[in-house]
Symmetry: D2
Subunit: 421 residues, 4 copies
Amino acid sequence: MIDVIELRRELHQYPELGFTEFRTAAKVVQLLSGWGYKVNYAQDTMDGESRRGLPSEEVLEEAYQRALREGADPAVVERMRGGYTAVVAELDGSSDGPTVAFRFDMDALPIPESDKAGHFPADQQFRSSHEGIMHACAHDGHTAIGLALAERLSDRQFAGKVRLLFQPAEEGVRGAYAMVQKGMLDGVDRLFCMHLGTGVPTGHMRGAARGFLATTKLAAHFSGVSAHAGASPEEGRNALLGAATALLNIHALPRFSTADTRINVGILEGGSGANIIPAHARMVIETRSADEATNRELERRVRQIIEHSAAMHELEAKIEVIGGAIPIACDAELAELAAAEAAQIPEFAHAEPFSDASALGSEDASYMIRRVQEQGGKATYMIIGTDLPAPHHHPEFDIHEAVLSPAVTLLERLARKRAGD
Amino acid sequence: MIDVIELRRELHQYPELGFTEFRTAAKVVQLLSGWGYKVNYAQDTMDGESRRGLPSEEVLEEAYQRALREGADPAVVERMRGGYTAVVAELDGSSDGPTVAFRFDMDALPIPESDKAGHFPADQQFRSSHEGIMHACAHDGHTAIGLALAERLSDRQFAGKVRLLFQPAEEGVRGAYAMVQKGMLDGVDRLFCMHLGTGVPTGHMRGAARGFLATTKLAAHFSGVSAHAGASPEEGRNALLGAATALLNIHALPRFSTADTRINVGILEGGSGANIIPAHARMVIETRSADEATNRELERRVRQIIEHSAAMHELEAKIEVIGGAIPIACDAELAELAAAEAAQIPEFAHAEPFSDASALGSEDASYMIRRVQEQGGKATYMIIGTDLPAPHHHPEFDIHEAVLSPAVTLLERLARKRAGD
Amino acid sequence: MIDVIELRRELHQYPELGFTEFRTAAKVVQLLSGWGYKVNYAQDTMDGESRRGLPSEEVLEEAYQRALREGADPAVVERMRGGYTAVVAELDGSSDGPTVAFRFDMDALPIPESDKAGHFPADQQFRSSHEGIMHACAHDGHTAIGLALAERLSDRQFAGKVRLLFQPAEEGVRGAYAMVQKGMLDGVDRLFCMHLGTGVPTGHMRGAARGFLATTKLAAHFSGVSAHAGASPEEGRNALLGAATALLNIHALPRFSTADTRINVGILEGGSGANIIPAHARMVIETRSADEATNRELERRVRQIIEHSAAMHELEAKIEVIGGAIPIACDAELAELAAAEAAQIPEFAHAEPFSDASALGSEDASYMIRRVQEQGGKATYMIIGTDLPAPHHHPEFDIHEAVLSPAVTLLERLARKRAGD
Amino acid sequence: MIDVIELRRELHQYPELGFTEFRTAAKVVQLLSGWGYKVNYAQDTMDGESRRGLPSEEVLEEAYQRALREGADPAVVERMRGGYTAVVAELDGSSDGPTVAFRFDMDALPIPESDKAGHFPADQQFRSSHEGIMHACAHDGHTAIGLALAERLSDRQFAGKVRLLFQPAEEGVRGAYAMVQKGMLDGVDRLFCMHLGTGVPTGHMRGAARGFLATTKLAAHFSGVSAHAGASPEEGRNALLGAATALLNIHALPRFSTADTRINVGILEGGSGANIIPAHARMVIETRSADEATNRELERRVRQIIEHSAAMHELEAKIEVIGGAIPIACDAELAELAAAEAAQIPEFAHAEPFSDASALGSEDASYMIRRVQEQGGKATYMIIGTDLPAPHHHPEFDIHEAVLSPAVTLLERLARKRAGD
């Protein structure tokens, strides 16, 4: 049996950003194949056009080469080249039954990991070896749990099928949608998603999180015509004038009585020199609402403002979705089942079906949950508590590793649980 | 013979704003008819759709009723009702020859006339009897000159034809265009326009003014949807947001290397109450340039900004032209002819063909001049000097009446002048 | 005994806008004095500087003259001249006891009343005789109730004191503050405020409304320098540029996580002509939040944006508060007392202490309630249900007059109620 | 004698950007010292605080290390470290007389040089060896001319003194000001500046260029507070809102009747992520006018807009001058002298004292010229014609090398010319 803690530490040392999880995914492919799973990956598990916020070709290629240098199986990663890093594995149980799926996210964050004494991964020598990149949101733990679960279930002592989904690019809510669009959630009867931490302490477990917001992240590109600002300003088409107009008007969109909303223009960059009418500008926008329809309406208005701010100055506007998520409505049945099973595990002294706190973030597992529910299946998003020395996305973030093994046990029980047991 | 000074004083007492010159125009019709001219007026001399910046129906009707009360011929003004106040009269000379036209503007300004001692019209008891309206730009003098000229020429001692154009609504550059569009300048071989004053002192005369700018005046109406600002702000479509966006972006239009430009949003009004999302806004915009094509391009960009500022917020935008003029290029031949004739009149000790100063204003006689030149005719815009106690458009503006009679004489000489004389 | 319905109809015929309730207030003074009350009014009941959104002197004077023409007591209204229309009356009971206050608002709305058949006041011939002004928010009913209550209590059969507050200018939340600042709520032990209608049907009564929002209404004046837009634009200081910049940035203020917020620029007006750099602009702004501190912070930021938008263009900015309110926290003790008393009155079959719906509007009785509570007193804001043929502020708004008499009875019971009864 | 063409080619191969001309300046120091000049450089020739648009420390250090690797004298460049790359050399003549100064600029541009066949430096193998940097404005030629001049004058056969100014960072009009502030122009009686090309063809020479514009280049930094855009947007202070407001209002500054103006926001960059309220933004602005006072007024207004756009959103604004120039008024006496001397040189068949075309660019030699004139000296800015295969600042720019030697001869004649000769 693999040691889930050791595995987590190994993954922690080689963090990879969204859509560049070449080394991680190749390891997942290798282990799952070895345990008898039917493993699909790369373009078989993701719709290429549906990937959101894909990095540039240079970034993808550089990460690919790094994975090769670090020992990833060339035949496997070759197929993943260009940002196809999802893995989906399936195993038949010993008898007929439902298809039960588990989802794990694999990507890390562009945060330099602390090297201070007292930071556990630094002290224990398994700190990130990729400078500037860090597993600061526990996805190393999630992936390790998924792999340990896979090994335990390789005995096939369960009814129906188990499907394990290893997702790239959860950060920025970018990767799940492409897996859903490729049909990876089709046929699932029960879907269990999970996250470590998020404010829930060690010993606690929640069968269903609540409060995830609908969100859309857009990148807008304004293209105009450069001109010499002194000699012939009227020949220019000023991309920054269009972008600044869009920025102000996007922020000026009304409050909604239907639901609380949020809106932000997080990045604006444009122009090339003091004496040149700026021909290009790029803007990154985020909308949020607890209400999905309200978020869609906000997105519609943002697009409208961008298009007309550009047209006003005879610019071309290109808008791309670089991230997105919808709200999550967990099925009470699974939430209660999960809490009941957790209650059987000594490490979870405090298991409750429903979270009492609102998450107030966004998760693209929401697309997977929605797809399962649309087909008549059930789904939930669980929280496995762990004390944290520093908040998520912090250079000193870490998990309490003792939670990993009981988490595997919980998922194992859920996989082996018969309907009606 | 009528006394041109007495006539000017009579007109001065009854000033009328653009398109409401009912009493003035009716008097012109009456006198010209009496002298044997073939007189056209009302819809026969103006294209209704081409009138720019027409006052509201209420304003037109109120002025019409006032003219009736003040003794205007009911049969004549009835035909002018609704703002058709142009008059065009023609007289055949004693032999064949060219068609020589003269243009006079008739309208006054929304300025309350001074009643202080020392203000000549006040002292002499011919101050405006229409409170708040004043002949503060000498159009009373222009009209009186035109009528006196008509009387003198009624002897038909000239070759060809004389055409006299009495124009409404020069202020705001609104009325000439509708006369041109009705064909009132067709067939003109020589056109003489003139203005008293404009900085040229008594005793001076210029055969051709220069420096008139192309200009466009637009009114833009933004229509949205009102909503309660507290209860359901998202149901509103905010006309003031669209208008403020347009205002900033119109001012931000680039400088042009092709010619100096000017741009102004002179008026913005919108909204109805603190707690109502504003559903309506109105904006008045002016563009200018010495270069006609540059002014057209500015106007095109202003329209584009308005349309997209509106569309950005799902508003409807309606844009109307409420005034306009083009540059004037006087024909040197007529400028020299006029200066030569003036030099024959003792009161014009200083007659020069060309002005040395730039006017830097706009004139819609420019459309008339352009039309004549397009047909192969010649045209000029003369300045007849007069000392001024206060600037044009000032409550104490006045002319030096001694200039009126020599001005009539100058025009008479130009009318009787044979080609090749 | 006066007939409360007849009285209401009489008031309905002579609606008066905020701070111009000369005829109404004079009638209140006359009746209360006749019943033995000690009556204060005019500058004795209002702090002049604390009046918000006072109409112009012309408007105040015109309304004053109208009241005189319509028979108001000249000696009384003379003292109210200039917008001092509050009345406060007090009566001692037959024994010692608490001071119990009741507040009634008197002003009408700038809404033309319907004259259609089926509109009850039209059918019954008591429609507004002040064209364009209408009691469309039931304040005629409130005032009638207050007067009928006064008459009943003139027997002095109660312990302690009764204080009756007749407030001007509740619409726009403008008038209560000046009464509070003058000390009119000092010494009050129990304060009962009330409103007819607001969605609560006939037969229902609520002891305490909830959900009133904090709000601030501001008027901002931008003053710059005019200049000829063609001749010397750089000499202007453009008030509309400053105002449009403020407008966009005010709308762009962030959402707050502390509480839901609203913001609106309801009116913007500026400029004088197409060719003049605009020297003046006026803007009306409204902020709202359920949380008072959040509303204060919003107001602070709005002021900051206005000041710097003006300074950016070398304009002077003047900001005045033209309205305001704070949230209301009713005291449960009075809410329950009121519901219990109402339950004794057959017409109130459905009396409940607390409203289940949120009002989502604003009320400046909030300042009175706050002052009473700060002194250790108790206060509540009751809703007296009445079916409505059309919503509040609608030209066909009307109340169900049968509710008036039971409402008087309810207040009478509250006035005669002994502490500890 | 050095070969001026060979020297120009050597300099062309090692182009260095403004304030990083370590290798070039070290070579200048070495040669001039060898020829007996008294050579000052580094902090002796530049006021550190007056350097505008200094690159970052990283960029300065990297260029310094490159110069060391490429053989620059370590003792010399050590003193220049950190961006002190001006050199000023002086030599006494054989008799008393005026101080005659010549100015040469040394810096290159961030333009990748063409490697196409037909591009002369590529064909002749002296193309830039610093990828992305190119002498595309003839400063290699200027520096070579200056050095060849220095060698010829080392015979001291002239009256008075010669002073040679080798200036860094002319591109972006950044370097001259620091030399002026250090007193490097003090005591100069005649100053000759020059430029190759600029549209004047081979064989032509102009004694005085005209039309240089006043300009100011500013960088503005907006600093706010970041916050999570979903969780607590009100805690942020949004730097991009302030910057976008400034951008629109800067472009909306009025046209001036005093002189033609230009204004541009060439660069805007800010923000860090979709879900973060942006805490920083940077903006680069350029103003221009033929009239120095108008340009100063424009700069004043730009600063005011930036400061208040920042304060409006509680941001800190820091504004730095990163470049600037003033107009140039050449002294006719020197212009005529230069043309007369050029007329003695066969290669200048077409020498004229005054340029007939307007330069319409900006030059920071203007500060040097102004300082000399303030002291009572005379100065001019000459154009030495050369045919160009491609415009200035183009990857295929090149000069006609045959012009170099006659240019040296012209300057030599001007240096040896006695007053009154």
